[in-house]
């Protein structure tokens, strides 16, 4: 594999060498398959996803496999993370009584999304798995199936529809319009925005980091070195910013999932 293939751009290309800026774009998010396993064309994001899963399970295994009443350091960190999602998100949104059942799912979801985001700034990986729509879409689909299923399970067929469509007699003549709006908003737009919010944030963040990184390299010639320095500072700033955004997006994704489940369990409004 040549340097060009690994880096996805021409490494010898610098400013003032009659070489255009190799701007990042959609192709930055395309990875050629490295292997084919059981019909799956495995590429780098998939490997990162699987490795991320192993790391999450590994961490929680080390922390919680043999938990102690007086926790060690690792267990304490694990408990803090677990408690953050349990109390900070699930209990807050769904409530302690109804929410307890969904804690394992939400905890898994949070750490999965977060670690997939975190790959963005891990050296050598340096790619947020969630910047590929397939990963957020899969998770959003699971959440979607879950809350729609819960709605009908809890309220029955008619009650479930009433719940989803926001049926309320007091609205009078505009009720059909509201129901139509709610139908689109809840059943069609909601899973889409749920997935795209995460995807787009990670996509944009990665694009920015790649752009400044490429620019730092590209400008590294003649007077351009000054600008390369500025660009590299931006890489550092964006990396720190991404670290924050990654956690926030994971939090938001789980928060929304909880709020959908809470809406499904609530009596129709």
């Amino acid at each position: 594999m040549s340097a060009d293939q690994t880096l996805a751009f021409d490494a010898s290309c610098h400013i003032f060498t009659k070489c255009g800026f190799p701007a990042p774009g959609l192709h930055t998010f395309i990875y050629e398959p490295v292997a084919t396993v059981a019909g799956f064309e495995i590429n780098k994001p998939m490997l990162l996803a699987l490795l991320g899963s192993v790391l999450i399970v590994g961490f929680f295994w080390a922390a919680f496999a043999k938990p102690k009443l007086v926790p060690g350091k690792l267990q304490m960190v694990g408990e803090a993370g677990y408690d953050f999602v349990r109390r900070g998100i699930v209990y807050e949104i769904i409530g302690k009584k109804d929410g307890e059942k969904y804690v394992p799912f939400m905890v898994s979801l949070f750490f999965f999304v977060w670690i997939m985001n975190l790959w963005s700034i891990i050296p050598l990986a340096q790619f947020p798995v969630t910047s590929l729509i397939a990963f957020p879409a899969g998770l959003a689909l699971v959440v979607y199936v879950m809350w729609v299923g819960l709605t009908f399970k809890k309220h029955g067929f008619a009650g479930g529809w009433k719940n989803i469509l926001g049926y309320d007699k007091s609205l009078g003549a505009i009720l059909p319009l509201i129901m139509l709006l709610e139908f689109f908003s809840n059943l069609i737009i909601r899973p889409f925005t749920h997935a795209v919010r995460l995807f787009a944030n990670m996509f944009a963040g990665h694009l920015l980091i790649v752009m400044f990184t490429l620019a730092s390299w590209y400008l590294l010639n003649g007077v351009g070195i000054v600008y390369a320095g500025a660009s590299f500072v931006m890489v550092l700033v964006m990396t720190a910013f991404e670290l924050f955004i990654q956690a926030v997006q994971a939090y938001v994704f789980v928060l929304l999932a909880c709020s959908y489940v809470q809406g499904a369990l609530a009596e129709h409004h």
Binding site: F29, V57, F60
Partner: protein, 184 residues
């Protein structure tokens, strides 16, 4: 150019259309995490968290009962202390009263003894005076008869009459002395 190849591939793969292989692998990856956490690890930690909460609650209960016990012991102790103080005060009071009584008794006794001694002294003096007066009377009588005998030239002692004369003389002297004493 690899970049061009990738760019071409990008046109085939619009960013908002999920790649099926990635979708499946992503779900598999999530199921791995969810499976381990939901089936084993989180129930594990929940058990320990519950145990810990119980341990803490038990500790708190124990501490509370210990505190209640300490409180009751303290009250008991205070009551005992108050009782002891009361007892001490009572004893002191009693002792003071007894002391006063003893002092008064002693004083009365002293007074009585002093009076006895004085009275005994007076009686002694009176007795001495009486015996002295009697002795003096006899001596005076004897001296007077002796003197008279010498003057007359013969003994007057044997005559009872003589003694009566002397006694009469002395009585007269006394009678004379008494009115002068009374007048004085």
């Amino acid at each position: 150019m690899n970049a061009l190849l990738l760019a071409a591939a990008a046109e085939e793969q619009p960013p908002l259309i999920p790649h099926l292989d990635e979708l499946v692998i992503g779900l598999i990856a999530f199921v791995i995490v969810f499976g381990f956490l939901a089936k084993k690890l989180l129930p594990n930690i929940n058990k320990v968290l519950d145990e810990r909460r119980e341990a803490i609650e038990g500790g708190i209960e124990k501490a509370e009962s210990a505190q209640i016990e300490a409180q009751s012991v303290l009250e008991q102790y205070k009551a005992q202390l108050a009782e002891a103080r009361h007892e001490a005060a009572r004893l002191r009071q009693e002792a003071t009263e007894q002391g006063t009584a003893i002092i008064q008794e002693m004083r009365a006794e002293g007074q009585r003894q002093r009076e006895d001694i004085i009275a005994a002294g007076h009686a002694q003096i009176e007795a001495d005076r009486k015996s002295a007066a009697t002795a003096l009377r006899q001596d005076v009588g004897k001296l007077a008869t002796d003197l008279a005998g010498k003057l007359v030239g013969e003994s007057l002692e044997d005559h009872a009459r003589q003694s009566r004369v002397i006694d009469r003389f002395l009585d007269e002297l006394e009678e004379r002395a008494v009115p002068t004493g009374a007048a004085r």
